[in-house]
Amino acid sequence: MVKRVSGNYLRTYRKRSGISQQEIARLLGYKDQWQVSRHERSRTSPKLFIALAYTKIFRVSVSVLFTALDGLADQMVEENLAVFERDLRSRKPAGRPSMAHKRKIKWLDDRKQSKETAHLS
């Protein structure tokens, strides 16, 4: 279950456009505005298809619209990757390290490097 987080910008972008919840609901194919209201208040998270539809309506990326959820996903993945990397590096293969093992280590290093480069730029 996705943790309830406040910090999406659906309402802000909708208000900027002057469009009502009912009109957005119609654009998304809902019968009424209640789902849109729930999404705006972070009561429920939209399905992937609906989240993509929101990005098409407002012409901004998912990470901009759902900032808190994006942050939460980032935090979760980074924490789990750190544990994964620690396990991977501490695992001593019986013989020679397999190609897959080497590949994973290299991928993790590349990922870290690209993240640092992106951060610096």
Partner: protein, 181 residues
């Protein structure tokens, strides 16, 4: 002499971090205008919440409406314009509502500040805005997202525009930010 804003708990910290959210409220009888700012220049939400006519229930009803905003945006500061105590309507309901709202904010560990009408007026006098319409126009310039809500200049025989409460709340927020710089 520069007066500091009074908080409910006394004089709190006067500086708001640039990324902090500010909820500014304009309490009127039967409705409350609000604006939510992130930092100084990003506007997150604005609008008007109505809370009905029953005078005895008014503070609780208004508080319930504002509580949804506090929950949704978790602002660092809530700013309310203090009404002129000489005005008849300020003596009763509106003042009780403001006190109740401040209590609600305190419960959620949100700092609550009161700005007097005079402080808001003095802040906008720097920008040569001396009338409500001029202040609202200036707000619409600063926040183009609000421009389409800007009411036309009021004639003396017209009632005040419904949307003016939003611009008054925005003016209070900007005056708060301006006096805390």
């Amino acid at each position: 002499m520069v007066r500091r804003q009074k908080t409910i708990e006394g004089n709190g910290p006067s500086i708001v971090a640039p990324s902090d959210r500010i909820l500014a409220l304009e309490v009127r009888s039967q409705r409350v205008g609000f604006i939510v700012l992130q930092g100084r220049d990003q506007i997150l939400d604005w609008g008007i919440r109505t809370y009905g006519k029953q005078e005895a229930d008014a503070p609780s009803a208004c508080c319930a409406k504002v509580a949804t905003l506090l929950e949704l945006y978790s602002p660092a500061v809530m700013v309310i314009r203090r009404r002129n105590p000489a005005l008849k309507q300020s003596r009763g309901t509106v003042r009780a509502i403001a006190a109740k709202l401040a209590g609600e904010a305190r419960q959620r560990s949100i700092s609550c500040r009161f700005m007097t009408a005079d402080e808001v007026r003095r802040f906008f006098a720097r920008y040569e805005c001396t009338t409500k319409d001029a202040v609202a126009s200036r707000i619409a310039e600063w926040f183009p997202d609000l421009a389409w809500k800007l009411p036309p200049p009021r004639k003396f025989y017209d009632p005040e525009s419904y949307n003016m409460a939003v611009f008054d709340a925005a003016a209070t927020a900007m005056a708060f930010i301006g006096t805390n710089d």
